[in-house]
Symmetry: C2
């Protein structure tokens, strides 16, 4: 089940509420990524404490490890990973795309060798729906082909992008049919493709809207294209999707990208950036990004971000994090991941507050100014 209510709007931006089988999600929302059934380096109770209402899992990876037999034993992903709030699962399309030359795409689906044990596997819209039925995620993504921005240094031509987008549409219909056949009680989202071509994006939106799915995602962005290209598509597509359905911008992006996405009418975001950057000592703060490895923090008694309410900033200094990072202590990525995820989750909380007060435009402007000030 899925109920989505737009509570208020400001320009194209929306303040909404998403009710799923396992709970309610206030939107706009950032969803931490838990590829293998764990948000890297972060305890589930830390995620709950920072206010994460929904997290991601990955169909492709969880299919390979632990495998469906284990997930069936646990009655799905929730009990397996000890998470009771909603989960959204990616369909595997993006991961199969990441395999590059090691995957063979046909109308039927994608054939590839398991990177874990070499098994020959075939992922199709039907198989993806069957796996996600076992995972029992609250939001199921259609199986799609993530269109590459370029291949061997050549930017994808319109004909090629159209062919790919149209196959994703046929896979959307097959996903929808299989989802229904499996009597999946959760909610299926379609994925808009069409690369950097507005006309193709519009065709994709139109065809998907006709399927009357409970929600829609924008895929095929943040796949190597220049930033201006991404911004053009993020500005173009979201508000063309059905207004009554939630809109999810897949795999994007920086804090600035999220605020821009909200302004363009996006309701849901996910990205590995907060956790991946944390592991590399790249911290997000109100006044810009902070590289904790920089020697200037060696003696710095202040928290990462004095305006931050996260568990890391409440207890630890920049100097301590600098030291842990330098010593290769596991606590460094742990504390940094909590901080960065909190930054993203809390940014969306502040965005929602601003939207409720009809002051999102002012909030977004101040946010950009603050972030440019520098730490």
């Amino acid at each position: 089940m899925l109920e989505f209510t737009v509570l208020s709007t400001e320009g194209l931006a929306r303040r909404g509420r998403l009710v799923l089988n396992r709970g309610t999600v206030e939107t706009p929302v950032f969803m931490p990524v838990g590829t293998y059934g764990s948000v890297k380096g972060v305890m589930p109770d830390s995620l709950e404490a920072m206010g994460a209402e929904i997290i991601l899992g990955n169909t492709f990876h969880l299919w390979l490890r632990p495998g469906l037999d284990v997930l069936r034993t646990f009655g799905g992903l929730h009990r397996f990973e000890g998470w009771t709030r909603p989960i959204l699962t990616d369909s595997g399309g993006f991961q199969v795309w990441s395999l590059g030359a090691n995957a063979k795409v046909s109308e039927q689906g994608v054939a590839f060798q398991s990177p874990v044990n070499g098994d020959k596997l075939l992922l199709t819209p039907e198989v993806s729906m069957q796996i996600q039925r076992v995972l029992d995620s609250d939001v199921v993504m259609q199986f799609d082909e993530c269109t590459a921005w370029q291949k061997d240094g050549v930017v994808a031509a319109e004909a090629e992008v159209r062919r790919s987008m149209e196959m994703s549409l046929r896979w959307a219909r097959r996903s929808q049919d299989e989802f229904a056949r499996l009597e999946n009680p959760n909610a299926l989202f379609g994925i808009v493709q069409g690369g950097m071509f507005e006309t193709l994006r519009e065709a994709s939106v139109e065809a998907l809207a006709a399927l009357d799915l409970p929600g829609y995602a924008i895929g095929g962005v943040s796949v190597g294209e220049p930033k201006e290209e991404m911004r053009r598509i993020v500005g173009h597509t979201p508000h063309r999707l059905p207004a009554a359905k939630p809109r999810y911008l897949m795999g994007v992006g920086t804090p600035e990208d999220l605020v821009e996405g909200v302004a363009a009418g996006v309701d849901m975001f996910d990205c590995v950036m907060p956790t991946r950057n944390a592991r590399n000592g790249h911290l997000f703060t109100r006044f810009g990004d902070l590289r904790i490895r920089n020697a200037r923090y060696k003696q710095d008694e202040s928290p990462l971000d004095p305006t931050c309410g996260c568990a890391t900033c409440a207890r630890f200094s920049r100097a301590y994090l600098h030291h842990l990072d330098r010593c290769g202590e596991m606590l460094a990525p742990m504390l940094a991941s909590v901080h960065n995820l909190h930054f993203y989750v809390d940014l969306m909380r502040r965005v929602r507050e601003a939207l409720q007060g009809q002051r999102f435009a002012a909030f977004a402007a101040q946010f950009r100014l603050d972030r440019q000030r520098g730490v």
Copy 2:
């Protein structure tokens, strides 16, 4: 300051209470090791939640990184690492010993090259006291020479062990003098050496007791000697130390070793085993040790230890931990470290309860039986 009260005894075993500058520690106690100012992979609030009342820090490592300038800025180790409860610091003797041929020992102290930046450094009893004054740890360890059990395959001869033990005694006096000169408000412990020779251990005990230090440790065990040798010394030395002072067995050991140490009259323990083993998938449980990498746990829905009250066992299954370990997810060592440390801390809590009820002997017998049963 240090106040130690023996609340009750059963045979040689003691139930005690240690009052230090930063708080009270119920003994027998296990102290988690935080070498570089962090207990590897464990958040300080997890340590608090599991009931850890005192943790270790390491003088040698903290001297090199972050260095005294940083630690002075923070007024000591407590504020730097965000830990308000008591801290005990090792003197650096053991680490210098670990450097082996790269360290030159003389009556003055130990000369070595910094493994971090190649600087030529000299660690002496005076320098160790000066560093520990900056660290402001609640319990300061004397600088000692940890006598090797063997060198180049040859077991240390009595004359060599005696020479080393006697130098440690002179270093104890120099540590005591410097500790007093620095007006350190915390408590200094002496360290008994003497290798595997009872007569040397007795001479060390006698000479250290004459210094009337607030507490005593047994060093030079768990340094590569056969297990029977260690057990012989653990059975021999603790009860010969002054009964009114706390007794600390350094760097020991398995859960069984701890219970045996308590029976021999030991009050305090530390060991890297719970965290190090956790990182290698070696988990402690009531009914024996569990290797989480074993394929038999792939589908196992039960917690690591159904009788355990730790945060990991409350929420996660063996199958999930097996999966995380297999995928190389950081959450695997995190959850395992919480479990193993809780096992040690909780074991000491159960030991204290048994001692209070004068049923420690029965507890210890049942504990050994349970542990041999197998998971």
